[in-house]
Subunit: 178 residues, 4 copies
């Protein structure tokens, strides 16, 4: 069994996840610029989650290149990852409307941790080689855990931490971060 | 006519079915942890249906490998399967909001029976060989029928039975279950 | 430019059209069997439109096999077809809630005529050969025109005519219908 | 890394963007022809945005043919383009309900400018060759800027300008426009 169809299905699911999030941006009733103001935090969390799904898509792509054939275990590990990622639109919507509240902020981080854990499982199922992005992956996990904790101190710190992790992935590999 | 485009179209439809179900998880108005509580049954039925669609995707993939070319009959049989599967988001939503009620629970099982029947028809149209998952397939059918019946005794029994069937598909093939 | 990506994009759009129609099946508030009753006409129009999109997908697939390369004209003709088909979920929803009313019934037929016209244009752009389904195509056009007219006499006649056309496409090619 | 999966993912996202816009066409409560009247501007903006996404899909297709391999920069530049395009359903919905108002009209143009800018970046990342559609691209940018300005004079002028740009892309390449 080749990787082609697993990639096609995953691409489909990721494309839908990344796009249906935009449905949370409800069209305002008024037509003034000010009517867009309440949408700003929802827009920013949308942009953040778009970027996170984009990172997953990119890493997923590289990871599946390492797989020579797909067995039953890889398929379930992949479905497990897609499941947690499919909840990101929900967590994004809740965070966007409550970005100053502890639980929505913490829950977003918990979901990112679950997705990251599912990715680790998929990676270990596919290859024993270490990922090129080993350091970034570990750093992300630590930041997410910290953000979940900080959500109960000041959720804004967590929001900034989520954004920092997303930005970190833009830094090219050959620049050492540790 | 090759199987490529039939697979691509089916993958697309299955990817959308599996993802739009998450839209039933409406974002709560409050921001406390307790506000997520009413969503728990909806989340659990979502997870169940996600797993069921995942199983169909996996089996569908293996089945189409057995097909050498696609004729008109296979195409209609495939469309018939996709039709019943496309109703799963609806049945999932109804069950999620009424998991202790007889009819929503029974209807979920009836739909799973119809989808399973459509899968049998597709299988017979494609190949005369028996499936590797023959035993699991038959056991699933019996459990679904039992669950539809039990929905009028105690719907919780049916819900547990649906979950058990989904879990059964995780057991690797080489472990004998009968 | 090969046909691969045009097929992939069209498959994607058709897969989404066929699946988002199911969102019109709103989950009932009650949990009794009777609560599903108002959904019956909506379910039936959904089944009808699902079948119609399925026919288009099938024919589209065969048509693009005849194309050796894709030029700008083919691309626009294809986009034109997808545009009219993308309105089917809207027309289906309006018909489903008003299947005894003249205008929703007529509008459904008018949209089918527009889609059929767009398909004819695409066909002529791709190939000068006659389609295998020439007779069925013409018969469909006549029936749709008749249905639009009948919508102002008795919409139920039109609904039955739409269903008959969809059923006609199941008849294998080698059985002569004229 | 080949272009195949980047194309597949982009096609998926573009197919979803082009299709979910139709969800803004809410089914009217009445069943008379007159009930469709308030939907006319929403329908027209839908048709406009459908055409614009179609143009992007077409150009995107040609652009990626020029790419021999996909590096990290191309991937991010592509994701950046998809991000701005994913906001088109929102801007379309706001414009459709407020096509005589300045800000919704201006915002639509600003978004088109951002998407066009993202496309320029992607193009420069992929190839140093000039695009075949260089003139049309530049003309579009000028028209969008003019439309944003005109939105505060008379939004209808802007709407007509948006439509003119979309129509311009139908003109075959070999007819000189300058």
């Amino acid at each position: 069994m080749s990787t082609t169809r697993l990639e096609a299905f995953s691409d489909g699911v990721l494309a839908i996840i990344i796009t249906i999030m935009v449905l949370e941006l409800k069209i305002p009733h008024g037509s003034a610029l000010i009517d867009l103001q309440p949408l700003i935090p929802i827009f920013l969390t949308y942009a953040l989650s778009f970027q996170i799904i984009g990172i997953y898509w990119n890493n997923h792509h590289h990871l599946l290149h390492a797989a020579k054939e797909i067995n039953s275990k890889i398929m379930w590990a992949n479905l497990n990852l897609l499941f947690w990622l499919s909840l990101i639109p929900f967590a994004t919507g809740w965070l966007g409307e409550n970005y100053t509240q502890s639980w929505p902020t913490a829950m977003y981080g918990i979901l990112l941790l679950l997705a990251a854990g599912a990715y680790q499982i998929l990676q270990k199922t596919i290859t024993k080689e270490k990922s090129d992005n080993e350091t970034k992956g570990k750093l992300s996990l630590i930041c997410y855990m910290l953000a979940v904790f900080l959500a109960f101190v000041n959720p804004i710190f967590s929001d900034l931490l989520y954004a920092s992790v997303a930005l970190m992935w833009f830094i090219p590999k050959h620049i050492k971060i540790s």
